[in-house]
Symmetry: C2
Subunit: 223 residues, 2 copies
């Protein structure tokens, strides 16, 4: 085994965004609109999960979707086929959404009559974790093929979310994924987090997720 | 189907980085050291691929590895077990490496006696594509579970690399991944790209990859 050294490179700070985020959150609270910020790596199944969520909640509440991408429209196109109100944001190459970009998306979508807006954030486990978007709650998806070691490598994301969806659990055996190890690593970073294993493909576990989300929306609207 | 609109958010530009990158590239050329910038999403199998590459090339040339991560050391630790010279860079939350950060990594590692330095970039398909690190060549890994539609969503990355490794091909049937569709989408963005399907787990296809890399290193050193 050879030795290795570590170089620390200084991190920049984003302060004014927090105020913008708080402002948006307060506005949405008054309008009784719940904003969910949904984050993940590319290819973790975010859009399929959004489709399952629409299916599970559309009878109980009015949903709208804000799709964020670098410059494609494929996700918004897919969601639009369900008849759900949807808008696509292009970040023009930026890897995150800040509160101002989120505001543009939410206002562009239009909140009239909506209970829940899901922001499908840009596919990324890093930058998206650093910006408060103004969301009521934050959730992330980790998919099984990415591995159970990801909390060690992207701790900020796992530490900041309220709920973790572990997607593609139908592939668990194939990839030798340990839910126990993952849970232990995640809880060390975030003892309060709720973890829900799902397969957006087969639908397994999705009801636990939509029940949690529906309860959060109701609590947001009532208090 | 509902309609959707698109909001364009302006992209920032990074100019001075290009000069720094050219400077580093020229220095390394004089030292006859080839720098490979290896990029991918989190969980695509970058470190396992690096281990296979070390195994395949260590008899032919001297290798060093620069591991870049937000703040963990797990990858450098794994690589160090092979006895290969390795250094860990912490980006402190930043999602990319620029040429100056790369220089710090490469100089920290030390290039004396090395033919090839592999920079295992931060797990990310967005920001890493925007910065010239000063590398001799750029490669990326897309893993099968991420899906064959990723070129549509992260075009900048697929357009800028010289070679694409498609990893986890042992999982192709499970995920209904189409190598044909992927190839068509990638070639539209980048007609010159070389695509090499591999399984870093089983070793399938790895020789084609290490042969390409060895030939590029020799060409760099000779011309």
């Amino acid at each position: 085994m050879s030795e290795f050294r570590v170089i620390e490179i200084k991190k920049s700070v984003y302060e004014s965004n927090d105020k913008q985020a708080e402002l948006l959150r307060n506005e949405l609270k008054k309008e009784k609109v719940f904003l969910l910020n949904l984050m993940s790596s590319p290819g973790s199944g975010k859009t399929t999960t959004v489709l399952r969520t629409i299916e599970g909640l559309k009878e109980q509440m009015n949903l709208g979707i804000v799709e964020a991408d670098l410059d494609s429209d494929v996700d918004a196109f897919t969601v639009s086929k369900t008849g759900t109100r949807v808008i696509q944001i292009h970040s023009g190459g930026m890897c995150h959404l800040d509160a101002e970009m989120t505001r543009q998306g939410v206002k562009g979508l239009g909140t009239e009559g909506l209970d829940l807006v899901i922001l499908e954030n840009i596919g990324n486990l890093i930058c998206t974790a650093e910006f408060d978007t103004g969301a009521s709650k934050n959730a992330m998806i980790l998919s099984v093929p990415e591995g159970d070691d990801k909390p060690l490598k992207y701790p900020a994301m796992f530490a900041m979310v309220d709920l973790l969806l572990v997607n593609k659990i139908d592939a668990m055996d194939f990839f030798g994924f340990s839910m126990e190890k993952l849970t232990e690593r995640v809880k060390k970073l975030n003892p309060e987090i709720k973890i829900v294993p799902i397969s957006a493909k087969t639908g397994e576990g999705v009801e636990e997720w939509t029940n949690w989300l529906a309860a959060e929306v109701r609590a947001w609207q009532e208090n």
